[in-house]
Symmetry: C2
Subunit: 200 residues, 2 copies
């Protein structure tokens, strides 16, 4: 079987959220699975010098409008969170902890976390919300709380961010298909063509 796609995203990235709502179905259409890899844009941006879109001089307003318009265009529910962007290390660390125990639980947590933030406007930077969402997927709340406070899980996320940078990932979302890098939710049509044709 062909290798899974790799899907890199930050839990505070609107375009990452939009891609997250499509990528599994898109890959499945071509018999492929997807390996989800949350990263921290703050870490990637230290390498690239980039700033969050809405904090960029002059053009922040455009992107706020484009987030919502792109969501409508793609038919995905979206409500711009009042507090944006937020710190997402708790959500990302929780994802990896869940993933090491049960892939499906981690995936369900990721969907729930993105929707909590970008549909329901809940504060995903809060450890309590992260623990609640994980527990709702069947995770052991106390064990996760302990893991989130420990160094190994922090090191794990750091290593994942470094590995992403080594693969050339600099933003969210980024999709790798057999080594080919696609950046942006707006590149999903190219990802689909690539899967369909094996490269173009």
């Amino acid at each position: 079987m062909a290798e899974p796609l790799e899907f890199y995203f930050d839990f505070s990235s609107p375009y990452g959220y939009l891609a997250s709502e499509c990528i599994d179905e898109l890959a499945a259409k071509y018999g492929r699975k997807v390996r989800w890899r949350p990263v921290l844009l703050g870490v990637l941006f230290r390498e690239t010098g980039a700033v969050p879109l809405t904090q960029a001089p002059f053009k922040g307003g455009y992107f706020l409008r484009d987030f919502e318009r792109s969501a409508r265009f793609m038919g995905i529910p979206y409500a711009q969170p009042a507090n944006f962007p937020i710190a997402t290390q708790n959500a990302a660390r929780a994802y990896y902890w869940l993933h090491d125990q049960h892939h499906g639980m981690a995936r369900r947590f990721a969907y729930a976390a993105y929707r909590a933030y970008f549909v329901d406007g809940r504060d995903l930077s809060s450890v309590d919300l992260v623990l609640d969402l994980a527990a709702q997927q069947g995770a052991d709340r106390a064990a996760l709380a302990e893991a989130l406070a420990g160094q190994p899980l922090k090191d794990r996320l750091k290593a994942e961010c470094e590995a992403a940078l080594k693969k050339g990932v600099f933003g969210s979302p980024t999709v790798l298909v057999d080594g080919e890098i696609f950046f942006g939710a707006d590149r999903l049509p190219q990802v689909e063509r690539w899967l369909e044709t094996g490269g173009f």
Copy 2:
């Protein structure tokens, strides 16, 4: 009749070139015309602090690859110019001078200029090439050469760049449809939906 779309671009912008090969046909499908408006990214970037994509730390290589892949995806001939990006004030000024005399001549010049640079790899920063391309569309070469050396045409391009900034334009290509701003060649599907539905 509905107002024309406005199409802002820099003659050195790969995504601007890709959009230029589609925008007239796209608009015509919905009974609309397009007002082409070359600008200088150098002037816009002074406002926004942006840098040319291929000079951005870490991610320049990705964009070089994406230019060519996006062209193949869109079915448009493209060859990455060795000298990139280039200064495009001569081409942009020539466009406005031609435009004031004959819309159609300016449009044909714009197509020819983009293709000379992004298909044939010719040096569009050269005044001689700009004059040759304009003359090929039927322009008076000597009169254009004189105009390019004068202050009024310089002021004209400066005013066009300032007017673009006032409308919120910060990059190339940007398309305005009845006041709605779309940035990027990858937003053309949204432009089409907007034209089709009157907004979404």
